[in-house]
């Protein structure tokens, strides 16, 4: 049934039950709440997160000497990893993800990589986002093309990028919008109308402005809660405006973004897909182990995910959150107590809709013969297998476009089945 017809049907239903004054939109929201409407969050970790630190294979006999002073200990030991399956652990900073795993809401993928095999961040991110095997081979992203291929009518704002601009993965034929908290006063209606007129003949600006206003309306319906940035007081009443802070706490902007993502996805009539990114994973020097630079970053990330879950509330059960990075890092520590650019790494799929509590890894081992080019974790799983699995099972994207427009020439990357709860 098309969205339009469904709306009419729902309105008729509302009228029949006596709700004559209920608008179609509200009726849609009320009834739709009872059916499953999947939400998807993509988090891009820019800078190449060290998969051997985030998900230490403490059971691998070569792990300890490769990582030296920064090797994480087995679960149960002092500052040890969090338990996964007896071979892999989670970095001790990832407490929320550890709980998610125990609650069977997290799948950990390891030795996974995009098709990219060089070591440039920028090209690596391009491949991660464009969905082909080559950097700069497409000017659009796989997630956008997937939304464009989704069955049925889609609302304009099916996807939202949290940030002022839209990352490559969300650019393309499907109309998506971006939103970020503003400390500026809004425009009055008259000025807005005149600017809209002025943009009438400008294909780029007219669409962008319309999308921005739509996102703002959705945000406004959240009563201003989305611009609140106070992680220390999560239950505070909605703030009227963000308080400019001279010295924002670390991760402050990130927390704000996470709340905004949740605010959009909570809406029954809002976007289903949200994307945001985080940076700072390029740990060439002084990476640290159970404590230190990377540990702090991971803790911030983990806290953000916990916030996302609590902010999503009942919608969490319909949600999948995928965390990916452009590539991994060297298996061994380098000369400056960090790690250089590598190849395979980990990915996380968390959420109430995920059939979790599993590690999916065809582990190549860390012996010198097992390493890729003698230095990096060898990829044994194409990340596109995971992406296809999530898009097909969770968002209902049919296999045919997945194999053609979304991930062209990817037939060897077979869809991973069974990632979602039935």
């Amino acid at each position: 049934m098309s969205a339009m017809k469904r709306r009419e049907f729902l309105r008729a239903g509302a009228l029949a039950t006596g709700g004559a004054l209920v608008t179609s939109r509200l009726a849609f929201a009320r009834v739709a709440a009872t059916e499953r409407r999947p939400r998807f969050v993509l988090v891009i970790l820019r800078g190449a997160l060290d998969g051997l630190a985030a998900v230490p294979p403490y059971g691998d006999r070569d792990y300890g000497h490769l990582r030296g002073e920064f090797a994480l200990r087995a679960p149960g030991e002092a500052k040890g990893a969090l338990p996964l399956n007896g071979f892999f652990g989670l970095h001790p900073s990832l407490g929320f993800l550890g709980q998610s795993y125990a609650a069977r809401e997290l799948i950990v993928f390891h030795a996974v990589a995009s098709p990219y095999r060089e070591r440039s961040h920028f090209d690596g991110q391009d491949v991660l986002e464009n969905g082909t095997a080559l950097a700069h081979a497409a000017q659009s992203g796989w997630l956008n093309r997937a939304l464009a291929a989704a069955p049925g009518e889609r609302r304009r704002e099916a996807g939202v990028a949290l940030g002022q601009n839209v990352p490559l993965v969300m650019r393309g034929p499907a109309e998506v919008t971006s939103w970020s908290p503003s400390k500026l006063a809004g425009l009055d209606d008259d000025t807005l109308a005149r600017i809209t007129d002025l943009y009438a003949r400008d294909p780029l600006l007219s669409v962008r402005l319309a999308d921005a206003l739509m996102a703002d309306r959705v945000a406004a319906e959240q009563g201003g809660a989305m611009v609140q940035d106070n992680a220390a007081a999560p239950n505070m009443a909605p703030a009227t405006a963000a308080q400019p802070q001279a010295n924002p706490p670390p991760g402050g902007a990130y927390a704000e973004i996470v709340r905004a993502a949740a605010g959009f996805l909570r809406q029954e009539d809002g976007p289903q897909v949200a994307v945001f990114d985080t940076t700072g994973w390029d740990t060439h020097a002084n990476e640290g182990g159970a404590e230190g630079q990377l540990a702090g970053r991971l803790a911030g990330l983990d806290k953000g995910l916990a916030t996302l879950r609590s902010e999503l509330g009942p919608v969490w059960k319909d949600t999948a959150v995928l965390l990916v990075t452009e590539f991994g890092r060297t298996a061994a520590i380098n000369g400056t107590r960090g790690t250089d650019h590598g190849t395979a790494t980990m990915a996380f799929l968390a959420g109430g809709a995920v059939a979790g509590g599993r590690v999916i890894a065809d582990w190549p081992g860390l012996s010198s013969r097992g390493l890729y080019q003698g230095r990096d974790l060898l990829p044994t799983l194409d990340l596109r297998c995971v992406l296809k699995g999530v898009l097909e099972e969770h968002l209902g994207i049919p296999p045919q476009p997945l194999e053609t427009s979304v991930f062209p020439q990817s037939e060897r990357a077979r869809t991973l089945k069974g990632l979602m709860r039935g």
Binding site: T177, L184, L209
Partner: protein, 461 residues
Amino acid sequence: MQQLGSTIAANRFGLGARPGELASIGGDGRGWLRAQLRGAPPAIANAQLASSAQVLGEAFALQREIQQARRSGNDGQQKLPQFLQPIYKNEATARFQQAVMADRPFLERLTQFWTNHFAVSIDKQFMAGLAGSFEREAIRPYVLGNFGDLLVAAEMHPAMLLYLDNHLSVGPHSPAAIRAGLRQRGGNRTIGINENLGREILELHTLGVGGGYTQYDVTTFATVITGWSVGGGNGLFASGPPGRFVFRPDNHEPGPKTVLGRRYADKGYEQGVEVLNDLAQHPSTAHHIATKLARHFIADDPPPAAVARLAQAFTEFGGNLPAVYRTLIDMPEAWQQPLAKYKTPADFIVSSYRGLSLPVDAAHGPLAPFELLGQRTWQPGSPAGWPDRSADWDGASALLKRLEWGDALGGRLGSRRNAAELAPQLLGANLTDATGTAIARAASAQQAMALLLAAPEFMRR
């Protein structure tokens, strides 16, 4: 009737027309740009700005103080940012002022282009205090010189060495590594190279990705520049003049090395300079630089023929930058599509300030617009620098913020600026009837200004 040449010269090559600028350029946009290439690049005249050596020397000392205090249980963690942040503010404000006041705005844009090419980002330790002096010391004086000199100046600058971790990189067979290995008796050696700078020089600063280098070249080049370090640091890195480049022979990987098929004898620090000199003249470098310049001045996806001609000029004139710029100025492609480039937030802000003759007031949060509109000065977040395509900047939310900012600016200015009078002076031949009419019919001076700054032809250059 304004001429298209002056409009493009001032808005695309320059930093946005100031009132009267288009008239003074007259019909000869190319001549106006060429004239800016004559004479030494202007320095930023501001006696308050300290050298990178001074800043870094003090920062290292402060770091030692903090570490000592920590041993006696005191937390002084905030002291370093408290020292570095005001330096950042002064430097970024001075740069902003320079851009708004510039009489040779093409040169100013080129300076920003090269700083972005050799990007450091203030989200890494010390960079808030160094990004400005890096630009003043390693970029600005070289923008009218030879690319090879610019390259060497940028890579040897302490800011770059610290930003890409080279100061701590140690050759695996260097005297320092051997001593450390003996001490640790084969234990967990964490002394060795860091390939970050070596990789980014090849990938970002010279050849470009796909420019014909391998992982072997990256690793070997990283060993070539082992020992390129900064003086006055902590622990093993204390010797040498504080905050200045220092070559540490003890950390340098000994022996000849082969990079891109050419063998370099070991001459200590000069080994690295020789590799840089060859990289500067490599055809891949010529193509890479030509592509970036063409993308910045012609279009997001510049015509391949234009890129080829720029690369040819780069090679033919041995990396002489003014010769490359003159080739660019002469290219018809650069003058054909008047609004091919979407402004970055920084372009939008600077062109607004220039166009409206606004003072950069150091006392009143002069950098706030950059933060609000999403492009904090010297914070691209990665060594790749800020991206340079429309799609990177034309997000819905980003647009709305520009509109809100322009409206707020109009509200503050009230009737002190006349948008209708300014429009032809700023937008020249690009001014459309639709924009002119909208401004003329505006309900208030504030709204007229909001419309001028919102105009499609003001969003682009």
